[in-house]
């Protein structure tokens, strides 16, 4: 009976660091995007990466409250993406 958290702690940390690198790369597209939909695509990718990194951070810290926060963050980021896309259509709600 081995303890998987002790066994896999280094792997989880490495995955978290690579996710932060991906967030940094997507941040470049948010800052330098030529049009407004480019920036929204960058924000959508950043949202997904933040959700997964919150889940992994909750596993590392062994506190499941981070995973609950990730669920709420997923739903709220979806709603915000829909609203900004609706705004870009120039439109009627």
């Amino acid at each position: 009976m081995i303890d998987l958290l002790v066994e896999l702690s280094a792997e989880f940390w490495i995955v978290l660091v690579i996710l932060l690198v991906g967030i940094t790369i997507a941040m470049y597209r948010v800052i330098r995007g030529p049009t407004a939909p480019d920036r929204i695509v960058g924000l959508d990718v950043i949202n997904t990466l933040v959700i997964v990194s919150m889940v992994i951070f909750g596993v590392i810290q062994d506190k499941f409250i981070y995973i609950d926060v990730a669920i709420v963050y997923a739903v709220l980021s979806f709603i915000s993406t829909l609203y900004v896309a609706k705004y870009l259509e120039g439109g009627r709600f």
Binding site: M1, V21, V41, L49, S77
Partner: protein, 140 residues
């Protein structure tokens, strides 16, 4: 026995997931166009998050079954709910962004013909108004 197998299996799932996550970010950086960036960013990150969340679900179930630890079951089920939330919301958001980009007039890179020209439903009322205005002006 199962613990040693999982200590090999879970890093493989994590590596597959993180490779797709990084490819999604890299495609977001390198592609020339909103639609191709959307393709790379959304699909690759959804696929990568499936693998990472499945590895964490297996980890939580192992802690629940082997160590009879309640925290493991909570981690597994809540990660499953988060994965379902990602799977439901991510393609829908991508569809909304692509529709908004097309309706706000962004052309694909290197495109010659737009097949949806005049067929997009949100554009039609404005075009109808413009037509009626044009007829009134023509009558005057």
């Amino acid at each position: 026995m199962i613990g040693e197998m999982l200590a090999v299996l879970l890093p493989i799932l994590l590596i597959i997931g993180i490779i797709f996550m990084l490819l999604g970010s890299l495609g977001l950086l390198r592609f020339p166009d909103v639609y191709t960036r959307l393709h790379a960013g959304t699909k690759c990150t959804t696929f990568g998050s499936i693998f990472i969340c499945v590895s964490i679900i297996i980890y939580g179930l192992y802690r629940w079954v082997a160590d009879s630890d309640v925290n493991g079951s909570v981690i597994a089920f809540h990660t499953g709910i988060a994965l379902v939330a990602i799977l439901l919301t991510n393609p829908t958001g991508a569809h909304a962004i692509a529709r908004a980009a097309h309706r706000s007039g962004v052309k694909p890179f290197g495109a010659v013909v737009d097949d949806l020209q005049g067929k997009d439903t949100a554009v039609e009322p404005k075009a109808a108004k413009k037509k009626t205005v044009g007829k009134k002006e023509a009558k005057k």
